[in-house]
């Protein structure tokens, strides 16, 4: 397995380095095939580095909504983006 490993000092942006680990160690393997259960959910330094910057206020607001309301919000956002795009294109 390989992936990105993150670290950072102070308030700087995360610094990512590529790492490689023998398969079997973390993932576990079944023949050559990865299985869902073999995918580790152990904390990853890279993900933890990104987690610090996640805006949890947006998540908390979304969690107050039902899945249907969350998708309706997404569609409404996409419509807005499309309108902005069209408006920009019309002005060019």
């Amino acid at each position: 397995m390989s992936g990105w490993r993150g670290s950072r000092a102070g308030g700087s942006l995360p610094r990512l380095t590529w790492f490689s680990i023998r398969p079997g160690r973390i993932m576990g393997v079944m023949g050559d095939r990865m299985t869902l259960d073999s995918i580790s959910l152990e904390p990853s330094p890279a993900v933890e580095a990104y987690k610090r910057d996640v805006d949890r206020t947006l998540i908390r607001e979304n969690l107050k909504l039902s899945p249907s309301e969350r998708l309706a919000k997404l569609i409404s956002t996409l419509r807005f983006v499309e309108e902005v795009r069209r408006s920009g294109a019309a002005k060019r």
């Binding site: 397995m1 390989s2 992936g3 990105w4 993150g6 990512l16 095939r33 990865m34 299985t35 869902l36 073999s38 995918i39 580790s40 959910l41 990853s44 890279a46 993900v47 933890e48 990104y50 987690k51 910057d53 996640v54 805006d55 949890r56 947006l58 998540i59 908390r60 979304n62 969690l63 909504l65 039902s66 899945p67 249907s68 969350r70 998708l71 309706a72 997404l74 569609i75 956002t77 996409l78 419509r79 983006v81 499309e82």
Partner: protein
């Protein structure tokens, strides 16, 4: 703009067995990221492949990013011969996957799904934990931010 309702209605009315994964599943679980395409894992049984081909035919599916004019037909034979297809359709971009990275076949994912009523349709989404596993398995640098958000969602849900 992707017409999610039309894409989902097409699949549901065609009785296609599918599970929503990717960005739209993340949205359903509470992600604040904006996604513009729909990704689904479909069952690979002969009947379901036939239903998938038939359902999508009116949407004129074509290989996304391929030059126009290729003799591509998204029919049962093509689906059987292939596995994962990134398509463009008249209703927007649609990824139809026979298997998501991480062993995510329809049958393997099915026990890890939840049905939600969205846009007036009952559709099956992969659950949050499995979505995180799939994103981790994909191992793409661009997914790190998404995984971080999904894990933060799991944290917030636990705090409840």
């Amino acid at each position: 703009m992707t017409d999610f309702r039309r894409l989902l209605e097409t699949l549901v009315s065609g009785n296609v067995e599918f599970i929503i994964i990717g960005g739209m599943a993340a949205t359903a679980h509470g992600s604040a990221h904006v996604t513009a395409d729909l990704a689904v894992v479909y069952g690979r049984s002969a009947d379901n492949i036939a239903r998938l081909a038939q359902a999508l035919a009116p949407l004129a599916p074509y290989l996304r990013g391929a030059p126009p004019g290729l003799p591509f037909r998204f029919d049962a034979g093509t689906i059987r011969s292939g596995l994962n297809f990134t398509l463009t359709t008249v209703a927007g971009d649609l990824d139809v996957l026979g298997e998501a990275t991480g062993g995510g076949t329809y049958e393997a994912l099915l026990p890890h799904t939840e049905v939600h009523s969205v846009l007036g349709l009952d559709v099956r989404f992969v659950d949050l934990e499995t979505l995180i596993r799939l994103k981790r398995a994909a191992g793409r640098p661009k997914d790190l931010e998404r995984i971080a958000e999904l894990e933060a969602i799991a944290d917030e849900r636990q705090k409840g």
